[in-house]
Symmetry: C2
């Protein structure tokens, strides 16, 4: 036997599909427990690592805290970090000439843009 489709695993997957934004491990635990109240930290850690290994989730590192996770299949996008509720959101528009901004002699192969402010709910 290999991988089982447990209630906990389904709950964690559901949490990401519903959220549509990057989540901290704490948020995954909190929202997951709304579906499966007994959900424990170890299970969250285990499954986030498994899902990252499978390529279903990817890590996002934003200022002000630990790693967040998001669905890996999303097209190129950036993030908005709310200073009030500390939630991260996707920003789908992207300034395209950014990679020409580096000093001479620097080879750019990627970029990350983070906007800060107040989200729609906190305004």
């Amino acid at each position: 036997m290999t991988k089982r489709d447990t209630r906990q695993r389904r709950a964690i997957r559901r949490v990401f599909l519903n959220a549509g934004r990057p989540l901290t491990r704490e948020e995954v635990l909190e929202y997951g427990q709304e579906i499966v109240p007994s959900l424990g930290v170890a299970t969250v850690y285990r499954n986030l690592n498994i899902m990252k290994g499978e390529g279903w989730l990817s890590e996002v590192e934003l200022p002000g805290g630990g790693i967040r996770y998001e669905l890996a299949d999303r097209p190129h996008h950036h993030h908005f970090l709310c200073r009030s509720c500390d939630q991260a959101f996707d920003v789908h528009r992207c300034p395209d000439e950014v990679e020409t901004l580096a000093p001479d002699g620097f080879e750019v192969d990627g970029h990350e843009l983070i906007l800060f402010g107040r989200c729609a709910a906190c305004t």
Copy 2:
């Protein structure tokens, strides 16, 4: 008596003035020990916190590791992170329309742009 101008403190200040780029605590310790070999971690931690409190240094958080510190008086700029040597560099050019990219209802009051790639020395 208040604040003393110690050899260690001068060394740490010198390190930042010479570097001209954001430094991790580890880098501060390493470069500081080239000036004052006996420099210890506790002193680095203490003085980084003091200098941040004085507003002389500010924190920068880039992906892939801990907090870095840089001189606080620098004008608006962004950062380049070398994937090879993991050093951070300043990028002084900035795409100016970025803050208009947020979704409707989101109030943007700041932004951070990080470029990834290989620095001039690692190319």
